[in-house]
Amino acid sequence: MNLQLTEDGRLRHLLTLDGLPRAILTQILDTAESFMDVGEREVKKVPLLRGKSIFNLFFEPSTRTRTTFEIAAKRLSADVVNLNIATSSQTKGEAILDTVDNLAAMHADMFIVRHAQSGAAHFIARHVAPHISVVNAGDGRHAHPTQGLLDMFTIRRFKGEFHNLTVAIVGDVLHSRVARSQIHALTTLGVPEVRVIGPKTLLPTGVEQMGVKVFHDMEAGLAGCDVVIMLRLQNERMKGALLPSAQEYFKFFGLTLEKLALAKPDAIVMHPGPMNRGVEIDSEVADGPQSVILPQVTYGIAVRMAVMALLAGGTTA
């Protein structure tokens, strides 16, 4: 049974983009499109989630994701409570469910969960009462579905279609939940060529089985790309010496204007943030005309509004 969908095929939780049908992805993107103008109004709010309580459960620090979830919930008129919870390492499982039970007793309607451990959001989703929805805001190396969706929204806004694109994901794919969500979404939405580019030590073994082409040098990998997605070098997740140095990484895999020139002239550059300038991306590229990194942040609000609205609607039938 798919934990994410109701029996009649509607979104119940958003935990991963793996296995979500194209129709649901498209529905989320279309709904986000209709939320885009709410940010331009005099009153930047619609009353859809009035009276609902949304809890941001962040077991791991985050600025952008937590803030845009909070803004999105507030634009939908929900009440938002932010909880930044430091975790103890051993009894995580029990501690999480205790926290969740307590918040459910405060009449929570939705949990937005970020956790360093893969599967945390699934774990909570299996536990909660039927009227409560869970959104995964990043779990370990596993998934970050709303980031994947906002990246798809950005690509669609700038490129219009998916079926004629070549998309490269560059860098630390091994530690990246964002990359995994992007790959699932890109292949589901019909992108014919998805590439991953990185040193062997930062690409997961068997990544080809996700339907991507693997490159170990930028020159070949970037040639002819419509979209270049840079990943953050996840120093804090790096265990052991996977790389000689940040300087050497920049030399081979950092995106500079010279390397970007290998992609199509109208290629867009994306980055999920936060950026390590001078490590995976040069400032000239990050702040340059092909960069859509700041629009990604803005679109994140509309996409998260869409996800929350689709989850919260029609639940009291």
Partner: protein, 164 residues
């Protein structure tokens, strides 16, 4: 009953005649998706309204959202003018319970504070559940609750009313 539903064009013409003397330089016409926009487009043309036509999708303001969820095809609202101080002519195809009009007014006020709002509908079918009445109605009927009046648009743009 079915056979007695009149042609739409004369109804719109009648509406336009009633509305014309009430127009001000600040009048803007706003149609509610989808049928209301069709009627509003016609009125906008007949009345030679100088300001652009507004369109409202009230999906985000429906009071049955928590029961039935989001409408599958939400179209963005488009109000290409400042609402502040305007006289709004709100247009819908069929007035039934009044809940759509209530939602539309709530949405309008999130864009600004209009000077006035008046309501024009092609058909007032009765069955009101709120204290909302049209200022202009092309046709006033008393349709039983189990029946529905629908406005549809053919490929050639022709509008027709059906009762089912």
């Amino acid at each position: 009953m079915h056979a007695s539903l009149p042609d739409v064009d004369p109804l719109i013409a009648r509406l336009a005649v009633a509305i014309a003397p009430t127009l001000t330089p600040d009048t803007v016409i706003v149609g509610i998706h989808t049928g209301g926009v069709w009627v509003a487009e016609r009125l906008h043309a007949i009345l030679h309204c100088p300001l652009p036509l507004g369109m409202l999708d009230i999906s985000f303001y429906r009071d049955d959202f928590s029961r039935i969820g989001l409408h599958p095809q939400v179209k963005p609202s488009n109000l290409p003018f400042d609402l502040e101080g305007r006289d709004i002519l709100l247009v819908d195809d069929v007035l039934h319970t009044g809940r759509t009009v209530r939602a539309a007014m709530n949405e309008l006020f999130d864009y600004g504070r209009p000077a006035s709002i008046r309501l024009a509908v092609l058909v007032d079918r009765g069955g009101h559940e709120l204290p909302i009445r049209p200022d202009f109605a092309g046709l006033t009927l008393s349709v039983p609750d189990h029946q529905n009046i629908n406005l549809s648009r053919l490929d050639d743009g022709h509008l027709t009313l059906t009762l089912a």
